[in-house]
């Protein structure tokens, strides 16, 4: 028999699972979501023709980043929720775990597949978004230059600068990264819930529930931390909300980025750190639950 030492964590095994998950999701045609995104961008530009370019760019950016956030979040939840139940139902999980594959490796591989899919989708959406924005900027610049052809060069310079400021701003990139990290967190959270859920509808419903609670967790937490007011019961309730649920509002930078608020790098870094923390945390919790699960 082969007695070559068994490696507890093998990149080869994990990458095989990752590649397979990505193939699976790709063949489920999840990328059609991106088509929807493209239609939305192009469709929305049509009715924005009546707005001024600043308004148009603001709305375009809001819609694009909002849609990116919705699509990546939905993709994260829906794609992850079906993974475990599907493998269990089809008994494919037996064939995989009967190989020298640790349950942790299985979960990491699956999750990494989803995260990779999310990364590809986010990048594609960002590219599409940049292309549309670039095209609109080009058109707006041409328009401004034409209208102001007789104005002094300084005014033209200001006007051109105004268009440029209204289109791209340097915080867009970290803003999009945080959208991606939020989706990663959601995927990991969904995986965790699916390790003890019995159906994937249950998983999706619970995740969406956590999603909304997560957006008001901050309010509950701050209220709880202030240590004043409220009955004992309501304080316990707030405490549980604060401890159990993640604060998802901390990841909502996109709105402020589009509005033009400049966001310090440390704030981005903190949010990114929290995003990674939660992703890893839920993965570990998933492993803890899943390792004890009878298949």
């Amino acid at each position: 028999m082969k007695d070559s030492a068994h490696r507890a964590l093998s990149f080869g095994r994990i990458s095989a699972l990752t590649a397979n998950t990505l193939t699976e999701l790709t063949r489920l045609k999840v990328f059609y979501v991106l088509l929807l995104f493209a239609l939305l961008l192009i469709g929305s530009s049509a009715f924005m023709a009546r707005l001024s370019f600043q308004q148009e760019f603001q709305v375009l950016k809001d819609i694009s980043l909002g849609a990116m956030s919705i699509f990546t979040s939905l993709l994260a939840i829906v794609a992850t929720a079906r993974m475990l139940p599907q493998d269990l139902e089809d008994r494919t999980i037996y064939t995989i775990l009967a190989k020298p594959v640790a349950r942790f490796e299985y979960l990491v591989g699956k999750l990494a597949g989803v995260l990779l899919l999310l990364l590809i989708s986010t990048l594609l959406m960002a590219l599409l978004f940049a292309a549309v924005l670039f095209a609109r900027e080009y058109a707006a610049l041409a328009e401004v230059t034409r209208q102001m052809s007789s104005a002094p060069s300084e005014q033209l310079h200001d006007a051109v600068q105004a268009v440029r400021n209204a289109t791209f701003n340097p915080d867009l990139l970290p803003g999009i990264s945080i959208i991606y990290l939020k989706a990663c967190l959601l995927a990991s959270l969904t995986l965790f819930i699916s390790t003890f859920a019995t159906t994937n509808i249950f998983t999706i419903v619970v995740t969406v529930f956590v999603y909304f609670i997560g957006h008001i967790q901050g309010t509950a937490r701050e209220f709880w931390l202030q240590q004043n007011g409220g009955t004992a019961l309501s304080r316990i309730f707030l405490g549980v909300v604060a401890l159990v649920f993640p604060d998802l509002q901390l990841f909502d930078f996109a709105d402020d980025v589009v509005a033009g608020a400049s966001i310090p790098f440390t704030l981005f870094a903190n949010a990114a750190g929290l995003g990674c923390f939660y992703t890893v945390l839920y993965l570990l919790l998933s492993t803890a639950v899943f390792s004890g699960r009878e298949l």
Partner: protein, 286 residues
């Protein structure tokens, strides 16, 4: 090789029933030993604990008490699965993969890669006679073909032990004959096979040793010849015996303190034994 391929000692598995006080005992104090190179058949009706036992051996389910080992490695360790291949009951694989892609995936899970993996995939497809279908998606595979690709994936890393859960369930006679031939082929190569089944004729054809499970208890175990021999009785097969001779034999027997019970062409089948054994245990546990 003195180390058994599979050793099960004092294995008990209790499944709690959610929201109820009672629980179900799936396997009760089971001891089992499969020696290397044997083909061992685990028999039993549905719900007798066969699948649970196999899953515990593979580390998919944890035992309540007792322990299981594969070539001396505890089943709860991932490393124990380096030397075992498993084909679950009516398996589904990823339908969007082709036969070759499926084997590549499982090969990688076993730590194989590159040239060696590619060569092994060709070999496996050849072995289960799916070379023609190598680039077809599993979506369009028949039950028999799925079972064969399942067997191929179980053999991907050339394990010393192969565990097959109902390998011929739902497969047509021709398909199940092919699988049976494959099992015999494995045996010839010195690979240990542990299979569960309720298709007794096939088991009879391929197994060296069988164990019969009923209600989680191993009620009979032994080699094929031991089990099928009827204890305390001797079969005398005569050719061209006249009735007078038979009468004489009966008289002789009576004189010697023996008794002729029956006169017929003696036959017992595994099926009979199986039914007998499981019915008796059912009465006992009631």
């Amino acid at each position: 090789m003195s180390e058994p391929a599979v050793a099960v000692t004092g294995l008990t598995k209790v499944f709690p029933v959610p929201l109820q006080r009672r629980s179900i005992v799936a396997v009760r104090d089971l001891n089992l030993r499969v020696d290397a190179g044997q083909v061992y058949g685990l028999l039993g009706p549905n719900g007798s604990g066969k699948s649970t036992t196999l899953k515990i051996i593979l580390g998919l389910v944890s035992p309540t008490r007792g322990k299981t080992e594969i070539f001396g490695h505890d089943s709860s360790r991932v490393a124990s699965r380096e030397s075992v291949g498993f084909l679950p009951e009516s398996p589904y694989f990823y339908k969007y993969l082709t036969a070759a892609e499926t084997l590549r995936f499982y090969g990688k899970l076993c730590g194989m890669r590159g040239e060696r993996l590619s060569a092994r995939i060709d070999e496996l497809l050849e072995l289960v006679r799916l070379t023609e279908a190598r680039n077809r998606r599993l979506r369009g595979f028949s039950k028999g073909m799925l079972q064969r690709i399942g067997l191929a994936q179980a053999l991907a890393h050339e394990p010393q032990l192969v565990i097959l859960d109902e390998p011929t369930a739902g497969v047509d006679p021709a398909g199940s004959r092919e699988i049976r031939d494959l099992i015999l082929d494995l045996k010839q190569r010195g690979i240990t096979v542990l299979l569960s089944s309720h298709l007794l004729e096939q088991v009879q054809e391929v197994c060296d040793r069988v164990g019969i499970l009923a209600n989680g208890v191993l009620v009979r175990e032994g080699t094929m010849t031991e089990l099928l021999a009827v204890q305390n009785q001797t079969e005398v097969v005569l050719e061209g015996a006249r009735p007078e001779l038979l009468t004489q034999i009966a008289a002789l027997a009576t004189n010697a303190g023996a008794r002729v019970i029956d006169q017929r062409t003696p036959q017992t089948t595994l099926e009979q034994l199986f039914l007998e054994a499981t019915e008796r245990s059912g009465d006992a546990s009631r």
